[in-house]
Symmetry: C2
């Protein structure tokens, strides 16, 4: 199974309004709510790809209860393979095969906290399609609750094929928290991907995660450079074994111990980039667990991420688009001299 950690889970609300006018009153014409936080989004995509996933992190209060109820609803009622899961499905044609289509269960292993899980609100302006985001800070997590999470995490690592550490830290959690979780994963021999930003990313990298997946802003904040190759290599020198830099609509740049690749979608696509990064993480991790080559992992990550931008529902991916895009992702290997 794949483990995802979301320390600051969220109930994601999406409000459609005809037009957002500051200082006016708006009747919300459409709304949806779903379990959120980056690690939960990654788990949802992994589940759709047929990978059994366990989610941990914190949830609490009335909002946490709603989140867990919605999370329980994500899992298929009758798993396609209740006996053993689908952790390493056989790809019929290496490289261009989509992951299996039967969704796999997402197991709730969240640690209950006394505080109330945060809400995030995406206000979608139906006139322009633009989104205004309001994020609550999250519950104050106590030292005892953090200790409980560490215990739960160690137990779960024992059965994990890979782990993703995702998103922001809630109030009360020390800035080196991800570094601590990276070290535990490495001690347990579980490949670990870190997807966060700012100081938690900086500290986490120093603990030598297998992978990080920063976007251009996160890379610039970390390294001071907006030149992709320079910034990605700098990030790798800071401790990450592999750095997969998201180049937004231009795809991804991967600087790894095995080589350097650039992967690009066949064309720029219009749509909502919300969740595209989380889909990319799911693509990278599922490819790692399935033993795919770097180019094939990147193909999957770019196709999933592009299919997420194309989906009418923010954060979901369009499966038909994904399958159509997968063989069309362009991969360019940089010459060893460029390394």
């Amino acid at each position: 199974m794949i483990l995802t950690v979301t320390l600051n889970t969220a109930l994601d609300l999406t409000y459609g309004v005809p037009e957002l006018v500051p200082h006016a009153s708006h009747r919300v014409s459409e709304m949806s709510e779903r379990p959120g936080g980056k690690g939960l989004n990654v788990a949802r995509v992994l589940s759709a790809l047929g990978h059994r996933t366990v989610v941990t992190g914190f949830a609490g209060g009335a909002t946490g209860a709603v989140l867990r109820e919605l999370l329980a609803g994500l899992s298929p009622q009758e798993p396609a393979d209740p006996g053993g899961g689908l952790d390493a499905p056989q790809a019929p044609e290496p490289g261009t095969a989509p992951a299996p289509t039967a969704p796999a269960p997402v197991t709730d292993a969240l640690v209950t906290v006394a505080g109330n899980t945060r809400r995030t609100i995406a206000v979608v302006d139906r006139a322009t399609g633009d989104t205004t985001q309001l994020n609550e800070p999250g519950p104050l997590v106590t030292a005892d609750e953090w200790a409980a999470l560490l215990g739960r995490y160690e137990e779960l690592l024992a059965g994990a094929d890979a782990v993703a550490l995702c998103g922001s830290l809630p109030p009360g959690i020390h800035v080196g928290a991800y570094a601590e979780l990276v070290r535990s994963a490495r001690t347990a021999g579980v490949p670990v991907l870190l997807d966060t930003s700012g100081e938690p990313l900086r500290r986490g990298i120093a603990a030598r995660p297998d992978l990080i997946k920063p976007n251009a802003d996160e890379l610039a904040q970390l390294t001071g450079s907006r030149e992709p190759m320079r910034a990605t290599r700098d990030a790798r020198r800071r401790g990450a074994h592999g750095v997969i830099a998201s180049l937004g609509p231009d795809g991804m740049l991967a600087v790894t111990p095995d080589g350097i690749w650039q992967a690009a979608p066949p064309a720029r696509v219009p749509g909502n980039p919300t969740g595209a990064g989380d889909s990319a993480v799911a693509g990278l991790l599922s490819g790692l667990v399935e033993g795919l080559s770097w180019p094939d992992r990147l193909r999957r990550a770019v196709a999933l991420s592009t299919a997420t931008v194309l989906s009418p529902t923010a954060g979901d991916f369009d499966r038909a688009a994904y399958e159509e895009l997968l063989p069309r992702v362009g991969i360019e290997e940089h010459a060893p001299a460029a390394r």
Copy 2:
């Protein structure tokens, strides 16, 4: 006791942001949540004035559960007068006496519905103090749930000294719902105040409520006129026995069977007008139940409403300001010829 009816209760969230920028992402720096919907706001002020209040209407789902928990927290742990309540306290000096200061209990008599109670979000821009409002539509109420509300309402009317019918209708409730509730109150001989807008107000007025409390926009929508005296008299001709028109910072205009009065605060005050109308309703109803004269009821309504604008917390009133303002509200009686 005073009964308030809130068919579309709400969990009111207030988010403070440094500055609201459309299409940007915002970290909410301060937040609060409290039980809302106009009738619940009226009940909170009545409670602070020492009047036992019962609230009915609809609540459901996870948001409804949070609302009811917060509502339970509003009531004083040890009521000042657990034996009999404080329905008709003696005013030491008629006209300028503030209501008693010991808060009275607010009793939850809400009808549980299957749908989820709505949230409203007030985004307060800390740079300007301006508020952007986002209101969910509310749960779809079924015919059976409406029938249950009617039964509960009839029972509660038997013990009520006055009733306020407040706010918007949730989806599924017929537009003549308030007219139906006004007629029941009149049949039961309980004075009824209707505070709503649009077609539900138009229909409700035709059922001849004792009082309505429209603001300038609601009056204009009802009568087509923005001239206060003309619009207020027109509203009265449509069926309301008394019309108390809110003139915003200029106070109130009361056209009643007993005379016409204009009441004005001593000065315009800066602040947040959210909830000022609900405080005015509480002032009018408490004054009615205490047997105050029209000028004294208007003094109380204007002082409470002005003290609500002055309060740092939206919807609460500043008690010291209220007591200071009360004797300073100006009352002007219009000559009988003007009637």
